[in-house]
Symmetry: C2
Subunit: 224 residues, 2 copies
DNA sequence: CAAAATCCTGATTGGTCGTTCAGGATCGCA
DNA sequence: TGCGATCCTGAACGACCAATCAGGATTTTG
């Protein structure tokens, strides 16, 4: 348990992190079903045995990798969103943020992987539940703000939030599977239009030119 | 190749069908990743070797099982839907049909399985594409009918259809994963409300008491 | 009714992979 | 400097499982 706290000797921890990152990468590429311990090892530039040394088992490693994804998401949410802004602005940001987390290779694919996993594994189910709950709450906060501001109109906010979250998942599936009817550059627009309708906002307020300004990075930090 | 066409000797074909049905069942229960050749065999009440005898390989069996699901779906679509009816009635039927294909054990789970599979397997991708295209087309037909009738209003039917289809997928994920925020008995209502909004129909026309009449079976024939 | 084709099975095999193991390197610490 | 803990590795083990095989039963056909 006692951590090696000396200065120039965090190599092991660093290695551990690298393995975790490698595991995430492998999950995106091959999915749970195709992820071999050797893949993770070689992606991390180490031996298979080391993976097992740090994480007791392969499943353990993958599970912890998923956990790290959760952390990344939480981080990027809070980092990207909550400066002072109107509900409309925040809603648009949310739409862009959510929709753009996909196209970057394999991100949405990873979610689908988590879903299947969650069908049978309680840990994965818990992870998804947590992330989804948080995402819906974020959405809900924005909706409530808009209602208070008077810029939104919505008879049943709870239902609207559930629908908007589900719609994003559904669109994500089509995009991840490269459905020709749902090109990824249309996803944001499709979602924002629905949001506009659900919340009684004039669509023009939400949907501008796809790329209006680039003051701060709207794209996700790095991975996840 | 010459089929045994004699009268009382379709046992082999019947056996083959049973294996296929068993494969579908196993897919629902354990998914692609967990499906063992022995599972299919025992579920069908035969030996593992026979599965391989009929279908060259396990993947072959699972792929063909998926195909049979496609057929079943096509059948149930056309059987359940198209008597003479107003667009509003048909839309409601579509919502109920689509949403209710889930709760029956593992049906939506099977779709999620297909999605992951489709991420990497082109055959599964083709299957999903075909089913989705057909589903969207069915929806589209109803929408067009409604527009012609004058009972629907919709600026962008194509987008509306994509959104409604995606919404159903997204809701299905929550239901399949037993998300407490999306109880399965609410799914139909949530979807129909969205449809009402997208198509400018007064919600009351679409959503009645959950179970108004039971003239004909609205529930799916059997499986799939 | 025989020969041939089809159908079916239990036992075996060959390969893949997660995990273990024994030992070697490196580091923290006294 | 030396000792114990931590970190790391290649090699070997063993479980699991898809696919093969050799042969037996049953059906079709000529």
């Amino acid at each position: 348990m006692s951590a090696r706290s000396s200065l120039a000797a965090k190599a092991p921890e660093e290695r551990r992190r690298r393995i975790l990152a490698a595991a995430v990468e492998v999950l995106k590429e091959k999915g749970f079903a195709g992820a071999r311990i050797a893949d993770v090892a070689s992606a991390a530039g180490t031996s298979a045995a080391l993976v097992v040394y740090h994480f007791k088992t392969l499943d353990g490693a993958l599970a912890e990798a998923l956990g790290s994804v959760e952390d990344d998401f939480y981080d990027s949410f809070s980092r990207a969103l909550p400066p002072r802004a109107t509900a409309v602005q925040r809603l648009r940001l949310l739409g862009e943020l959510g929709c753009e987390s996909g196209p970057a290779v394999g991100n949405w694919a990873l979610w689908i992987e988590v879903w299947v996993r969650a069908l049978r594994d309680s840990q994965a189910r818990a992870l998804r539940r947590a992330l989804d709950a948080r995402w819906r709450q974020t959405l809900r906060d924005v909706v409530d703000t808009g209602l208070k501001e008077g810029s939104f109109t919505c008879a049943d906010p709870a239902a609207a939030v559930v629908r908007l979250a589900a719609l994003m998942d559904g669109l994500a599936v089509q995009v991840a599977l490269r459905d020709p009817d749902v090109p990824d550059d249309q996803m944001t627009r499709l979602w924002l239009e629905a949001a506009a309708a659900e919340l009684g906002v004039p669509p023009k307020l939400l949907i501008k030119a796809p790329r209006a300004r680039a003051t701060t990075k709207l794209t996700r930090p790095a991975r996840a």
